[in-house]
């Protein structure tokens, strides 16, 4: 299995399209950091407008932790597309190229091959999130320094002490990785059903967009459905910046995501084991 995962990772990182995601993340993070570095105080003044009428804000609020939070809020919504670029291609791309039939004439069981491909895409996903964490968190800490962090919510303001933030980011990145692994599993399932990679990539995004719309619409008809939609739980990494952290809520969301990922991958393997390879 390990040998197969290494082969799959070798193939993933030999493809130029793999680096699109890394380049896109680097570009977005850099642009946000640059913009905040140049004009951050004005931006901060604008969002703290109502707060400053009541409170006196002192110290370095525009610090690395705050900048990282802004970056994550902006970026994590779009990362699923970058994940789908690779995981949607992992089987459908090979079917399209004709290499899938060559792979399957080798003495490797279909289940083992599928698991190796899935773990390789999971590795890619984690690497992408780690890359993002390094740039967004450590890059911002380096540029803007550290300090207490203000978390502005619609109904309250949470101020986190500088010594109480770092672990929250580590937990948030771990949770975001789980969210992205669920997206990766969905693209993986759709990749089994298609014979070119465009279909799974677009379908993954379409499903996420539709589910997100259902999640955000405040219509009673959809409310019963919301707890079961994985998109409803994907952004719960923000829960780690509450005080106190609602552990039950975060764990529940994590469980929903794990169950979805497990179902998507199991279904993908089941379909692939029975599939006739005609390409």
């Amino acid at each position: 299995m390990w040998q197969l995962i290494k082969i799959e990772l070798f193939k993933i990182f030999k493809k130029p399209r793999t680096y699109i995601a890394f380049a896109a993340i680097a570009a977005i993070v850099f642009l946000i950091q640059l913009a905040l570095y140049v004009d951050g105080k004005a931006y901060l003044g604008f969002i703290l407008q109502s707060l400053e009428e009541t409170f006196e804000v002192q110290g370095n609020i525009l610090n690395g932790y705050f900048v990282c939070f802004i970056i994550l809020q902006t970026l994590l919504v779009h990362v699923p597309l970058l994940i789908a670029l690779v995981s949607g291609d992992i089987i459908a791309g090979e079917a399209n190229m004709g290499t899938l039939r060559l792979l399957l004439t080798k003495p490797v069981s279909r289940t083992t091959l599928m698991l190796a491909k899935f773990f390789a895409t999971v590795t890619y996903t984690i690497m992408l999130l780690t890359f993002m964490a390094v740039l967004a968190l450590f890059g911002s800490m380096l540029l803007f320094g550290t300090g207490d962090m203000i978390n502005l919510k619609s109904e309250m303001v949470i101020i986190l002490d500088v010594s109480d933030i770092f672990w929250r980011y580590m937990a948030a990145f771990a949770f975001a990785s789980l969210s992205m692994i669920t997206v990766c599993s969905l693209a993986f399932l759709l990749s089994v059903l298609a014979e070119n990679s465009i279909g799974p990539i677009i379908s993954t995004m379409a499903i996420i967009i539709v589910f997100t719309i259902l999640t955000t619409m405040d219509i009673p008809f959809f409310n019963a459905l919301k707890p079961f939609l994985f998109t409803n739980h994907m952004l719960n990494w923000k829960g780690f910046f509450d005080r106190p952290v609602n552990n039950m809520e975060v764990l529940k969301s994590a469980a929903v995501l794990v169950i979805h990922a497990f179902l998507f991958v199991s279904l993908a393997i089941l379909i692939f084991r029975k599939k006739d390879i005609l390409t």
Binding site: G98, R101, K106, P107, V108, D276, I277
Partner: protein, 310 residues
Amino acid sequence: MESIIQVNNLTKYFKQIHAVDDLSFSVQKGEVYGFLGQNGAGKSTTIRMLLTLIKPTNGTIQIFGADLKDHRNKILMKIGAIIEKPDLYKYLTALENLRLFARLSKIHRTPAEFIRQLEVVGIAERATSKVKTFSQGMKQRLGIACALIHDPELIVLDEPTNGLDPQGIADVRNLILHLSKNEGKTVLISSHLLNEIELIADSMLIIDKGKKIAMGKVNELLNPADMFIELQTTNNSAALYKLQNSNFQKIVKTKDGKILLSVHQQEVPELAKTLIAMGIEIMALQPKHSLEDFFLSLTTNDNHVAAYKN
């Protein structure tokens, strides 16, 4: 002689389409076995079933004496295959492709052995070039190198000369003959070109619409003394019935109001006499010397009423 492949009553339906219909054949150790049929005859479907890419609807496949369903990985370890055009990883180099397929076959080769393998197929000087820069012929050669890297006992080649120039075709032919005669490999090769099979195969099977039409040793099926006759009579259906129950039953079918049959050259007068004795008047009796003509007439769309003896 040891049977390497034993296929019994193999059938594959794609919804209402009978891609392969009750096919049985066996391939003996060390022989080059030709699998002949027009495009869409069911050759690739059969080969894909032999390589576990497609699940049969019915029938059994035994390779190396073991059931393919139960011993898939053990069997595939000893098979090298090219299915239609060898689509390799275009963004990798020839050497990287070769190394990758060696690892998938769970074998270890030294860098020198990889280069030697590329030398065998004549593309060693392009070892570090990306496959996307290769011509179709070079891809085909690399595909063969990948199929042979783990020194398989059985080589399965589905239309291996597609897209090759005459020199490429000759090279592939010589390589197959070398592998069979000098290294004792068993080769199953499919083609829609009779002359290709005629030049390299020991035995062959002709299929059409998924059904077996003829099977046997190439030198027997392509005996130069055999002739293929186009026959027109006053009553073709009676003539056909009687021929199928006579000594002239090797291959018989009707097409475009004519009866096509295979007879030995010396049997032609006897055939004429027999038909007259049966009260059937002959309107035309035309020899078709080329087996290619006969193969084409045998495998085109028509009511198929073949009778054959194996």
